[in-house]
């Protein structure tokens, strides 16, 4: 069993390909337990690919990916989650042939997690009352915001302590974005580790403990939230925020 000093996630010289194209060129990244870390970067910098590579959803991969201290790079996708990862993909992947509640209950409770880690259905419905109201509706009939709540809510049940959230604030109304921000703070208080990919800098800035900046499939800058002001010129130049 990994002790508390073991990072929740540790990437070393991670390379990943889609077919012939070499997308990640040696990503190094460490996320400690209970941290909220944001991956910044332009579109195409490799942030989404980094999350997908962790889940084994890219083509070939090389390097090292340690999840809660366990090397997972050689594992098939379906085994990786069981080391404690909840993955919320950019496309949300709400299933149209499943009801809202079936979507919520779909991800299985993870083998490595003890039952107490996961949130109950009632707790998730308390956090997102809209989902309770619409639990019988077809998943894809939910509004964009509800679908996003569902996509995040369903990975909180599984006992995963490391959450990979890809662009969860994208294209949503400000009130929904605020609800998601409150959720991240609440998750942080509960001790979850969160890795976010975010385009919406104003959403990510007040939430994250640390930032990684990606360019051309590699990490080019890393800094803590306290250094954010000092780094703004670099970010302005690279991201145009």
């Amino acid at each position: 069993m990994a002790n508390d000093n073991t990072p929740a996630l540790e990437l070393r010289d991670l390379h990943a390909w889609y077919g012939e194209s070499h997308i990640l060129h040696g990503v190094d990244l460490t996320v400690n337990r209970g941290e909220v870390v944001t991956l910044l970067g332009r579109n195409g910098a490799g942030r989404t690919t980094t999350l997908r590579a962790i889940m084994g959803l890219t083509g070939a991969r090389k390097g090292s990916i340690k999840v809660n201290g366990h090397e997972t790079i050689g594992l098939p996708t379906h085994k990786i989650a069981h080391y404690g990862i909840g993955y919320c993909p950019e496309e949300r992947a709400i299933f149209s042939s499943l009801s809202c509640e079936e979507n919520l209950l779909l991800p299985p409770v993870l083998k490595g997690a003890n039952g107490e880690n996961g949130m109950s259905k009632a707790e998730i419905y308390d956090m997102f009352p809209n989902l309770k109201e619409r639990r019988q509706s077809q998943g894809t009939r939910l509004s964009g915001g509800e679908q996003q709540m569902l996509a995040v809510g369903r990975i909180l049940r599984t006992g995963a302590n490391l959450l990979l959230l890809d662009e969860i604030s994208e294209g949503l109304a400000p009130v929904i974005v605020q609800a998601l921000a409150r959720m991240i703070l609440m998750l942080k208080k509960k001790g979850y580790t969160v890795v976010m990919v975010e385009q919406n800098f104003r959403f990510a800035a007040p939430l994250a403990d640390r930032f990684y900046l990606m360019e051309h499939g590699a990490i080019v800058e890393r800094f803590a939230a306290s250094e954010l002001q000092a780094k703004m010129p670099v970010l302005n130049e690279l991201l145009g925020v």
Binding site: L57, H78, A81, F95, S97, E102, L106, P108, L110, I155
Partner: protein, 295 residues
């Protein structure tokens, strides 16, 4: 008792029942094809050959080992299901990333091999197989004599079809299947062993075909080519119902059997063509099929 058209009611009802029996086979076979296509994206041309193997196995069990109908009704789908698992693991697994046409070609090849081997052993004339004693004879239901075995086929098929529908639409396992049909990668990222699910789904789909084969053994002549004759109609049924729809496959299968039966009464010459006429009409009006979703 004659209707205005000069058709006797008993003749009509008995053709209706016959149609329902055929429809029961269409439903079970197209259901298996729909489940397989949904998750594997493979148009399983080998379905007819595996249906035939199911029936042949029932005959062989009786002939060589004295195993009766009821034993083979369970054993045959099990054996064919395992054969399906083997086919999936050794062959189909490699072609999922390719276009549908490769799955079709591969399973067509498997069909030709299976049918060829058994044709060279047993020839093409039918092998005799009789219904179990329990189901022989007929029951007088007032307006006609209902052959017990045919009634059993319809009941057994509807039970199996509805059971399958229930599992897929109403259970957790079914939710994995439905979700896996839509986006297998994400389901796998949640920690579900999708590759295993795919293997078992193929095994289950072809086990359904074998179950239909055993049910058919006493009513259709068992021959290495029996699947070939049926599978073309079944593909038409799947196209009419809409690829990948579970309920669509069941309803369309039974419905087209009945339409075929009724055509035999009204205009027998058209009975073997009517399914394809319906197919053309449906494709013109609803290209995705009656229950399919438009892309």
């Amino acid at each position: 008792m004659n209707l205005d058209l000069g058709i006797s009611l008993p003749a009509l009802l008995s053709q209706l029942l016959l149609g329902l029996v055929n429809g029961a086979f269409y439903a079970m076979l197209s259901l298996g094809l729909a489940v397989i296509f949904g998750l594997l994206n493979v148009i399983n041309f080998a379905h007819g050959a595996l249906f035939m193997l199911g029936a042949l196995l029932a005959w062989a069990g009786m002939e060589y080992a004295g195993l009766n109908y009821w034993v083979m009704l369970l054993l045959s789908p099990l054996v064919i299901g395992l054969l399906g698992v083997l086919i999936e693991k050794t062959m189909l697994r490699w072609i999922y990333k390719l276009d549908h046409i490769y799955g079709l070609l591969l399973t067509l090849g498997i069909t030709l091999v299976i049918e060829g081997v058994f044709r060279s052993i047993y020839g093409v004339s039918g092998l005799p197989y009789s219904a179990p004693e329990l189901l022989q004879g007929a029951t007088d239901v007032g307006f006609m004599h209902l052959p017990n075995y045919r009634a059993w086929v319809v009941m057994a098929s509807i039970t199996v079809c509805l059971g399958t529908w229930f599992i897929i639409e109403k259970t957790k396992l079914g939710a994995y299947l439905r979700a896996g049909t839509e986006n297998p990668k994400v389901v796998e990222a949640f920690g579900v062993n999708v590759p295993l699910m795919v293997t078992l789904t193929y095994g289950f789909g072809v086990a359904l075909a074998a179950f239909a084969g055993v049910l058919a053994a006493p009513v259709i002549q068992i021959s290495p080519l029996m699947g070939q004759n049926l599978i073309i109609v079944v593909f038409a049924v799947v196209v009419i119902g809409g690829m990948g729809s579970i309920l669509g496959a069941i309803v369309t299968g039974l419905g087209l059997g009945v339409i075929e039966g009724l055509t035999k009464v009204v205009y027998p010459e058209a009975s073997s063509t009517v399914v394809f006429v319906v197919m053309v009409i449906v494709l013109l009006l609803r290209p995705a099929g009656l229950f399919g979703k438009e892309k």
